[in-house]
């Protein structure tokens, strides 16, 4: 059994974002990057399946981007993926979902993966497209937004999160692709011995341009802070001052404080 996990490296979402020179996306300087949170659940679920099957499946982790993404790849290897593919693309931010999916599909097409795991979306772009597009390009079934996953005899039973707390259960035959929602499992932290072991695992480097030359289907502009909709006030200062101000406001503006 062969498993592919596709991960993305994204900035810490608590960062202060500034537009790049052309305002198509954020300026990368001064940003700290980490593994996309949704993808942490994808990596964990793949490793759990490997453990369930006594270590038999081989898990390949894939990430597209500049050399910084190797850090996210190494984390996935330390959690339990077996080998990695780093698809080099220095200007990954300019690639939109169709192009990213085309690159992944071009890599995966001849590899006969039985299962592909991805996060349901990235925290930065949030399109929720890439996973499904990869499945469509590979011509395999897929389902999204998993909060439950089980595999037995080549069949995936997935629990999908719908709206308002309702869930649904679906079954699909492998080869298949699934996208993972937050809360699917409890992602583990890599242990020091596993971090050491991961250093010996192989990372294959490929060039994005050699896999796909698809043109973008969308353009991006005017990356900006949203216009503030409310009339809210922002309070800063020492804790004591802030508490006094807030008490005055709450007594003045709400009828709930006695």
């Amino acid at each position: 059994m062969k498993i592919l996990v596709c991960i993305k490296q994204v900035p810490d979402m608590e960062s202060h974002f500034r537009p790049n020179g052309s305002a198509t996306w954020f300026d990368e300087s001064d940003l700290a990057f980490r593994m996309n949170e949704y993808d942490e659940y994808a990596v964990e679920e793949a490793v759990r399946l490997k453990e369930q099957l006594g270590g038999a499946p081989e898990i390949t982790v894939l990430s597209i981007g500049p050399d910084r993404v190797i850090e996210a790849i190494k984390k996935a290897l330390a959690i339990g993926c077996d080998c990695a593919v780093h698809i080099k693309e220095p200007d990954v931010a300019s690639k939109e979902p169709w192009q990213i999916a085309s690159i992944i599909a071009a890599y995966a097409r001849s590899k006969q993966f039985d299962l592909v795991f991805t996060g349901m979306q990235s925290q930065d772009r949030g399109s929720a497209q890439v996973g499904v597009l990869v499945a469509e390009l590979l011509g395999i079934p897929s389902t999204t937004t998993l909060v439950g996953f089980a595999w037995a005899d080549g069949v995936v039973t997935a629990t999908r999160e719908l709206e308002g707390g309702v869930k649904s259960k679906v079954r699909l035959k492998t080869p298949a692709l699934v996208t993972c929602q937050l809360g699917l499992n409890s992602p583990r932290y890599p242990t020091l011995p596993n971090i050491m072991k991961a250093r010996k695992k192989e990372i294959t480097t490929l060039q994005a341009g050699e896999l796909s030359s698809e043109k973008p289907l969308t353009g991006s502009a005017a990356f900006r802070h949203p216009e503030k909709r409310g009339s809210g006030v922002v309070l800063e200062g020492s804790v004591d001052e802030l508490v006094e101000k807030v008490l005055v406001i709450l007594k003045d503006k709400t009828a709930v404080l006695r």
Partner: protein, 302 residues
């Protein structure tokens, strides 16, 4: 502009979000038709063409088959824009259709200007404009971003069918867990978010809730981490609340969370991050470490 709106049908009924598709269509202007895998016995009100397939035959969630049905409607209607709700149905089906048509998809649209669509990014902290470079496009619109517009009229029904094979077997629905905490009726809700840092710190927020006479709420990450029971979750996958006062402690304000609390009477947010999207709906955003501010506020209230 010709629009094909993709309605949603679940557990035997048309979902309310379909009205938001009509709101979007009215806002952008043009001629709209509706696609629905639903019931021929209960045809929804709509003025225009309704491309209807029977959910009893094709299932309520059956992505491969729904894609084939929708592609038939696209072929017949030749729309400029196929419009979905950004929901578990929409984000699952839209990329399949976009891939088949090889056209651009823009996800979770909240506004538009010409053919540039405004979308959120970086956990909704930032916005940008996305412009399709294909003449036709597929979009999903954010739930709640456009006003709901009730449909009127009797549609011209065009029945769709396909013999496409299903690749996904639908087993069934699991109803929402019973809510042991009724936040909907609370006058004050004090919620804890990821900013509390660890499970023990929930007590800081719980103490404030107690001192102020409110119920304890939580954002999704805190529930996912197992720090607070799901019954306390506020947001689109938890409860929707409209208290007189909502206090958000260390909650950045994901779209899903905002959907569950933005209609509160007064919103007080405490966050270290001045740019946190909770600031968009907060009446007061206190930029502070909640572990320092919240106990100090609690002490004054006790």
């Amino acid at each position: 502009m010709k629009l094909l709106l993709v309605g949603e049908y679940r557990e035997g009924r048309l979902l309310d979000t379909t009205a938001e598709l009509l709101g979007f269509a009215a806002a952008i202007g043009g001629e709209a038709s509706l696609f629905l895998v639903g019931s021929a016995e209960a045809v929804p009100a709509f003025s225009g063409s309704l491309y209807l397939a029977d959910a009893k035959v094709y299932g309520e969630y059956n992505p491969e088959v729904h894609k084939q049905l929708l592609l038939k409607a696209v072929q017949e209607e030749n729309p400029d824009l196929v419009v979905f709700i950004h929901s578990s149905y929409g984000w699952d089906l839209a990329p399949r259709v976009a891939a088949s048509l090889k056209v651009a998809q823009v996800s979770e649209v909240i506004g538009f200007s010409g053919n540039a669509y405004e979308v959120g990014c970086c956990n909704a902290k930032m916005h940008r404009n996305v412009t399709p470079s294909t003449s036709k496009a597929v979009i999903t619109i954010q739930a709640g971003a456009f006003p709901a517009l009730q449909a009127e009229g009797t549609p011209v029904v065009k029945v769709l069918s396909t013999d496409s094979a299903s690749t996904t077997e639908f087993i069934g629905y699991e109803p929402a867990e019973a809510k042991d905490v009724n936040l909907a009726k609370a006058e004050i809700v004090v919620s804890a978010g990821r900013g509390v840092g660890k499970k023990e710190n929930i007590e800081v927020v719980r103490s404030l809730a107690k001192a102020i006479g409110g119920e304890l709420g939580a954002s999704r990450p805190v529930v996912d981490a197992g720090w607070i029971d799901h019954g306390h979750q506020v947001g689109s996958t938890g409860q929707t609340v409209t208290p007189k006062l909502y206090v958000a402690c260390g909650i950045s304000g994901s779209i899903q969370h905002l959907a569950g609390m933005k209609k509160s009477g007064f919103i007080l947010a405490i966050n270290k991050d001045k740019d946190a999207p909770i600031g968009e709906v907060a009446d007061v955003l206190v930029v502070a470490d909640l572990l320092q501010f919240v106990p100090a506020l609690t002490a004054k209230l006790s």
